[in-house]
Amino acid sequence: MAKDLCKTLADLKEDEALAIVQEKLNAGADPMGILDDTSRAMEIVGNRFSKSEYFIPDLVYSGEILKKINELVKPKLVKEGVAKTGGKVIIGTVAGDIHDIGKDIVVFMLDVNGFDVIDLGVDVSAQKFVDKIKETSAPVIGLSGFLTLAYDSMKNTIEAIQAAGLRDNTKIMIGGGQMSDEIKKYTGADAYGKDAMVGVSLAKQWVGANK
């Protein structure tokens, strides 16, 4: 009986999902097929999150299960992973702020939604953002911050991107605990996302418009 990996993973049944993967691999199944299933499952997880059926712990846990599945599948892969087709997104927590929980969730959701995410980490200087945009030509930039001090760091970062002549080709979103539409205006960003799925839909919208 073929058990449904996609449904099992989307329902966060860890032991069952891992057993199915192991069974499939033992039977010589194509690892790419398994990864297809997991991608579809993560799409369902994302949808449930945007409908408030799932919450942050569900996202975190799905990521943990996915990590374990990838560990099982990786040795069997002929080529490296699934090609990212969603477009490039540069993301980081702005200078002076070292909070990463929110940023990591956005990175994870962008990643499972097919984006090629370049995660610059925390306490990222304006110059580092500018250099990375030059190097990769990423059309979407995500600035994360938790503290009120991040307001000015975001503003400075966006001004630096402007000064480097890169602003017209980029769309910039901000996110974090004390962010709002007022802060979007203050920093000069294009949008503020109240949670990770808003970040994903903004990125989809912007990359789509760019093509």
Partner: protein
């Protein structure tokens, strides 16, 4: 005859703590006006909290993080390393803004003390963040997924021999210490003391002596500050703090990711550990409140916010142990002062299951009208003036916001004007506008 201890009801205990707070012993007020102002402010806050009678007007708090340092023109690094400068900055803040309630000068903490102990849990100015920025937590799994049994078996021993050496580099020597419960009788007793003769343990004790001396020095400055602003007529809001058991584990032991995964992989262990920590968290609050003679114990809330848990998870993991801690404090006459930073709108109904007039809630971005209709029925609320408004808004916008808040929340008492999240940056004129608006629109006629 005066009743004592066991014989007193929680109501009586609360009244007694409030009385001690409103008329503190041994204070030499700066002037008769200052004494009058102190008593009026403290009474105003008490009336707002108890919800039995209306205060003369809506009280106002200003609850900053590092704002007083920036406002006084010093860096957070200076505030952490120069206790005198720190106290001057916080005094200027209290004197200039004149809030009914203030939280003292404890926020910056003693920088040198953290240095002596090589504190790894936080990055602070000059140690991982720039001098002009506030300290920030380095989340991690300071307790691993398989250590629940060790924590449950003996929380104190787990903290001293496992957790503390992980978060304080200088406490490495604690790893070698025996469980003190092995020290029983003449036969074999000396064996337990061998570790104290070893160089790493002695180095740890040396660091502890130095850290203790520095902590005392800092506390001396804080005590002098408290005495000075009390004498000037400004009541301090909290005696000390404790935490919700879920946050104890989720913030600094297992971390956000760790505790979230534990809810799925080992829910029973997590629940058992929270059970074990609950009486310890009650004791932590009760002993401080009784020592200081102050009714308010601060509880910062973190991982129960909207989205961080499903409703089901909140009801199963967060709320029951948290409520037990609150009820344990309330039984001793203490008013838990809960800081619900971020959004808690979806939790408001559940959180309303509390006795009336026994808690004080800081509300940040939760829907205020709903908060008033739910939690606000049983508890005094303060806050909701947003951080972003204080930074980028105008004084007029702040005034309008506060007026609207008073219209929504102050009817019938049980509301205190305040910012909603502990803040670093703000335009001083906006903070003034918040306080002024409470005076202008807050009178109960």
């Amino acid at each position: 005859m005066e009743k004592k201890g066991e014989a007193m009801t929680s109501e009586e205990k609360q009244e007694e703590l409030f009385a001690k707070w409103i008329s503190p012993e041994g204070v030499e007020y700066a002037s008769p006006e200052a004494e009058k102002a102190y008593k009026e402010r403290a009474t105003r806050i008490k009336d707002a909290i108890q919800m039995k009678k209306l205060p003369d007007r809506v009280p106002v708090f200003v609850a900053p993080s590092f704002f007083p340092a920036y406002y006084a023109g010093i860096t957070p690094q200076e505030a952490m390393y120069d206790y005198d400068k720190c106290c001057k900055a916080f005094k200027k803040f209290v004197m200039d803004f004149e809030p009914d309630g203030n939280l003292g000068a404890y926020v910056p903490g003693p920088g040198k003390f953290f240095e002596i102990l090589d504190y790894k849990l936080y990055s602070w100015p000059g140690h991982g963040v720039a001098p002009e920025q506030s300290y920030q937590c380095n989340e991690g799994e300071y307790m691993t997924a398989d250590e629940y049994d060790a924590l449950i078996d003996d929380p104190s021993n787990f903290f001293s021999s496992t957790y503390l050496p992980r978060v304080f580099g200088a406490l490495e020597g604690f790893k070698m210490l025996p469980a003190l419960t092995g020290i029983l009788e003449m036969y074999g007793v000396a064996i337990n003391f061998i570790p104290f003769g070893l160089p790493p343990v002695q180095a740890t004790y040396k660091a502890l002596f130095d850290a203790g001396a520095e902590a005392l020095k800092w506390m001396g400055a804080m005590g002098a500050f408290n005495a000075e602003i009390t004498a000037a007529g400004f009541p301090l809001l909290a005696a000390g703090y404790t935490k919700a058991p879920f946050d104890v584990i989720g913030d600094t032991l297992r971390g956000t990711r760790g505790i979230m995964v534990d809810m799925y992989r080992q829910p029973d262990k997590l629940l058992e550990a929270m059970d074990r920590l609950t009486p310890l968290m009650i004791k932590m609050g009760v002993s401080t409140a009784q020592m200081v003679g102050h009714p308010l114990i601060f509880m910062p809330l973190h991982k129960g916010a909207d989205g961080f848990l499903s409703d089901e998870q909140f009801k199963k993991f967060y709320w029951p142990a948290f409520r037990k801690v609150m009820m344990g404090l309330i039984a001793e006459g203490i008013v838990p002062m809960l800081a619900a930073e971020g959004h808690w709108t979806t939790r408001l109904e559940i959180m309303s299951d509390l006795p009336k007039g026994k808690t004080l809630w800081m509300i940040d971005q939760s829907e205020m009208a709903k908060a008033k209709k739910t939690l606000g029925k049983v508890s005094c609320l303060f806050g909701n003036v947003p951080s972003d408004l204080l930074v980028v808004g105008t004084p007029q916008q702040v005034k309008d916001y506060v007026k609207n808040l008073i219209d929504t929340c102050a009817k019938g008492g049980g509301y205190i004007v305040s910012n909603g999240a502990f803040f670093d940056q703000a335009k001083p004129e906006n903070v003034h506008a918040m306080v002024d608006a409470a005076m202008e629109f807050g009178a109960y006629k």
